[in-house]
């Protein structure tokens, strides 16, 4: 049983699986893109022999992605003991077999023991890093020096951050993004948005559009950008005002408000609802907007606009009415105490804003930065280690230099060669 688990773990943690998963993803994506985009073209119709498929939203994709994540985790865990032993090797007294197994190993005769020791300490400090004496016993000296010890962390950083980015995008799906039109002077009190499932969410602040304009380049009529001045209100008091354009957003309570690219003139219907007690309430709606009728809990939506009348449809029942300047009574029994009339139709300049709440954004952003740092450490930094053994001999000393590097082996070889040349 243990053998099976070990075999499975070795397979999941192997670099061959990494190559297999990445290659499989590459081939499948190439097939899908070519099938989707090139097969419809007259000269590429032969690509239709590939059956249509949607790998992106299939179980196969989930399995491949899960395998990729498992591989990332397993290879990181597998490498951990080796990384720890590398760090521990600095205090270890190396035997001759170990020294000769190093990629850069040189053995040669040098001057007397004391002089060689002093020279070695000076040369290695100057050319490499400060060495320390691992052991000095009788006629034998062991030195160790290293550089770039923490570059091994780059591997873990890069891999863990890829996983965190994937987790961050999953977390982001719990957020929301909602575009809404707003007219100059319009107040959303409170701001109500919809999530991905079209469920309404009431935010804990209000938003008012104080101004909106289109900005041109200099004196020309070339459009530069749409700009809005937006104020956030809390408890009726303005807490933040900012100019927004497509590249500048406002953040409040974790919600980002972005300026979208559009502006348009929209027809708003100003309606008046009277109840039997003579209480009046006005509503300003554009197509698609809804309002509650008194305390009835019934909601009506503006569905059509004509030159002098508008249609209101009940959200909960199939009923609808046309409303003009003459007050009209609702037909639903629950609404018969109310009458509605159209006061006027207004043309308003509106712009489009976007409210985005992305709970995974910070995780993705920081993971991305650390991932780049991890890649840079993996590719461009090197953990270089140098062991030195000096044996006193009758006519001088015998020196063994042994070096190992994770990257840039030629630089280490040059450095070892230079130390040898300086001592001989």
């Amino acid at each position: 049983m243990k053998k099976i688990i070990t075999s499975v773990f070795n397979f999941i943690s192997s670099i061959n699986l990494t190559i297999l998963v990445l290659s499989a993803a590459t081939v499948i994506f190439i097939l899908q893109v070519t099938r989707e985009k090139l097969a419809p073209l007259p000269s590429w119709k032969w690509l239709a022999i590939i059956p249509e498929f949607d790998f992106y939203h299939s179980r196969g994709f989930i399995i491949l992605f899960a395998l990729f994540c498992a591989n990332l985790v397993a290879c990181s865990l597998k490498r951990l003991p080796r990384t720890i032993s590398i760090y521990r090797s600095s205090s270890r007294v190396p035997d001759d077999t170990f020294l000769s197994s190093m990629p850069e190993a040189l053995e040669f005769k040098a001057e007397n023991y004391r002089v060689t020791k002093e020279k070695l300490l000076a040369i290695i400090s100057t050319n490499f890093s400060t060495p320390y004496v691992v052991k000095e016993e009788g006629n034998t000296l062991y030195l160790f020096a290293e550089k770039g010890k923490y570059t091994h962390l780059g591997f873990y950083l890069a891999h863990i951050c890829i996983l965190l980015i994937a987790i961050g995008t999953l977390i982001s799906t719990a957020g929301l993004q909602y575009s809404f039109d707003v007219a100059k002077g319009q107040l959303f009190d409170p701001l109500v948005v919809r999530d991905a499932n079209r469920q309404e969410k009431i935010l804990d602040f209000s938003l008012r559009c104080d101004d909106l304009k289109t900005v041109s380049y200099g004196e020309s009529d070339k459009l530069k950008k749409h700009m809005s001045t937006v104020t956030i209100l809390q408890g009726g008091a303005a807490v933040k005002t900012q100019d927004l354009d497509f590249g500048t957003h406002l953040t409040y309570n974790g919600v980002d408000i972005y300026q979208d690219r559009f502006s348009k003139t929209i027809t708003y219907a100003k309606l008046q609802v009277n109840d039997s007690a003579g209480k009046q309430k006005e509503h300003e709606l554009k197509l698609g907007d809804s309002f509650s009728v008194g305390d009835t809990g019934e909601k009506l939506r503006l569905t059509r606009v004509r030159q002098d009348s508008v249609q209101l449809k009940s959200i909960s029942s199939p009923g609808s009415i046309w409303v003009s300047k003459t007050p009209v009574q609702f037909t639903e029994p629950s609404l018969q105490a109310y009458r509605v009339s159209l006061i006027e139709l207004l043309q308003k300049e509106t712009t489009s804003l976007k409210a985005i709440y992305d709970p995974g954004q910070d995780l993705i952003w920081f993971s991305f930065l650390f991932m780049i740092a991890g890649f840079s450490m993996c590719f461009f930094l090197s953990h270089q280690r140098l062991w030195v053994k000096v044996d006193m001999e009758e006519d001088g000393s015998r020196v063994v230099l042994a070096g190992a590097a994770t990257n840039n082996h030629s630089a280490l070889a040059d450095m070892v060669g230079n130390i040898k040349a300086a001592l001989e």
Partner: protein
């Protein structure tokens, strides 16, 4: 426009340095190689000057953005990135071997840019609103820098196969040893170029994800341009991981490097709207 005149001068200089790089391996005169590098550096500085002049011109016209929007500007920047990547790798490896392929390629692309790309795309125009802010510069600049590095790896891969064929045909041991060293060097150049390009390409992928989130509402839309970018990233990931396996050979690196470059080009064509329909905002 002043910047366009300067750019065409840079193109001519690149042609001259391309001729020098191309003849260098055959003539084997060290001064030609040094002259090639010198001319390339000078051409690069002239090219950079054309960018600066264009940038200043955009401010004078009231637009004031880093202009990498039209096909003209994009191709010019890609060539600049290719030459920059090449010069860095030439300094690092102290070898001009890849220059004989890459610099002529850069020269051809710049000649195309200055002679064939229509005037409507070479005149300075306002940057469309959708390209304001939202990580646009963080997306496009690393993308093109990545393309520059990938072009170096592509050039080195082509040369790798040429050298390999020569090695198979050569008879003397000295030549074989020399060619083996060349192949190893080319492999190192391919790897280093891919490593640099991979980091830039990752930055552009993530910055692109942030842009997509703002504009379309989710980090990933499975748009063809995005998918082609991901395919390119995956291919280079395979190369970077493959080097750590025992069975991975230099040939595999070179083949996949060429394939990665082809998908990178496909991604660029998709982004310009010239290959497939895409929701990605097209390079004009």
């Amino acid at each position: 426009m002043q910047d366009q005149n300067i750019l065409s001068m840079a193109a001519l200089l690149y042609i001259f340095s391309a001729a020098l790089y191309f003849s260098n391996p055959f003539l084997k005169v060290s001064r030609i190689g040094a002259l090639a590098t010198l001319v390339t550096v000078f051409a690069f500085l002239v090219h950079t000057l054309s960018f600066l002049l264009r940038w200043i011109a955009t401010y004078r016209m009231g637009f004031g953005h880093l202009h990498i929007v039209t096909l003209y500007e994009s191709l010019s920047f890609i060539v600049w990135a290719i030459v920059l990547a090449y010069l860095i790798l030439e300094i690092k490896f102290k070898n001009k071997i890849v220059g004989s392929f890459v610099i002529p390629l850069a020269a051809i692309v710049l000649i195309y840019t200055t002679m064939v790309v229509p005037d409507t795309q070479s005149t300075i125009a306002p940057v469309p609103e959708v390209l304001h802010g939202n990580f646009y510069n963080y997306h496009v600049i690393p993308c093109f820098l990545g393309y520059g590095a990938f072009t170096i790896s592509f050039g080195a891969s082509i040369l790798y196969f040429i050298k390999k064929r020569k090695k198979a045909a050569c008879s003397t041991e000295a030549d074989m040893v020399q060619l083996s060293a060349s192949l190893q060097l080319l492999n190192e150049i391919i790897y280093n170029a891919i490593a640099i390009g991979f980091i830039f390409f990752t930055i552009q992928l993530i910055a692109g994800m942030f842009r997509t989130k703002i504009i379309w509402g989710s980090y990933w839309q499975w748009d063809p341009t995005q998918v082609l970018g991901l395919i390119t990233w995956l291919i280079y990931s395979v190369i970077l991981h493959g080097r750590f396996t025992r069975w991975w050979k230099g040939d595999m690196t070179a083949i996949l490097s060429i394939l990665g470059f082809i998908t990178a080009i496909a991604g660029f064509l998709a982004a310009t709207g010239r290959m497939v329909t895409t929701g990605h905002y097209p390079i004009l």
